[in-house]
């Protein structure tokens, strides 16, 4: 309620957007911003884009456009190509052509993987302390023996790989 009172006090006129402010100097017609106009796109599934590629034609191109209004058999091949290039940016062949970007991507990925590897090696060498004693040879073999005695994973796992008769790993 109060807000509407303030609104009427201030007056609707003075609440303008910047575009409106600009329009006040141009007889009330706002120039359309570029981003509001239809754009040209090179897309496989859009054969006829909304606008032609070349927006502002040179004098030569304007003359060609005039010639286009007459019979098309009078046009030379070069003129036809020029008319095409006015209307479109890339041909379908150019559009669908692959690039060599994948090499850059692959190279970048491998480079950063290598860099991470270097960092990890540096860390292991200079930063980390000793590993726990439970990773020593004796401990691991005693651990494995206990696992086999307990018959851990006897169907498909570790105990299935051990030959209990011959007391060795299965071949």
């Amino acid at each position: 309620m109060l807000a509407s009172r303030v609104f009427s006090l201030v007056g609707r006129r003075s609440i303008c957007t910047s575009l409106c402010l600009r329009a006040h100097g141009h007889a009330g017609v706002v120039k359309a911003e570029d981003y509001t106009l239809p754009v040209y796109v090179d897309r496989r599934d859009m054969p006829l884009p909304e606008v032609a590629f070349v927006r502002d034609l040179s004098a030569q191109q304007k003359a060609l456009k005039e010639k286009e209004k007459a019979s098309w058999t009078a046009l030379s091949v070069d003129e036809k190509v020029e008319l095409y290039r006015i209307k479109f940016n890339e041909t379908y062949a150019e559009m669908n052509k692959g690039t060599n970007e994948w090499k850059t991507v692959l190279g970048g990925v491998l480079f950063f993987l290598g860099l991470s590897g270097v960092i990890l090696i540096w860390q292991k060498h200079f930063m980390y302390g000793p590993i726990p004693h439970t990773f020593s040879e004796e401990w691991v073999s005693a651990q494995t023996k206990r696992m086999l005695d307990m018959r851990v994973n006897p169907v498909e796992g570790i105990s299935a790989q051990w030959d209990y008769e011959k007391n060795e790993w299965k071949k």
Binding site: R44, P47, R151, E156
Partner: protein, 67 residues
């Protein structure tokens, strides 16, 4: 560009069907069947009491010492 979507869709529909079928078949005959066979083999001649005695002798049971 004629029938672009139809062509692409047909290709991908077939592809998806056969790829998923292939994955399922691969899993069944690569993993599931061998696993079932391994379990059948294991339990064919399994004697739990003998297994218990050997484990007991090895000394892994806290409540059933080797003696």
């Amino acid at each position: 560009m004629r029938r672009l979507l139809a062509r692409r869709m047909k290709f991908h529909l077939f592809g998806a069907f056969f790829v998923s079928l292939g994955c399922a078949a691969l899993y069944k005959f690569g993993i599931a069947e061998p696993r079932k066979r391994a379990y059948a083999e294991f339990y064919k001649n399994y004697d739990p009491m003998k297994d218990f005695e050997t484990m007991k002798a090895a000394g892994v049971f806290e409540c059933a010492p080797p003696k």
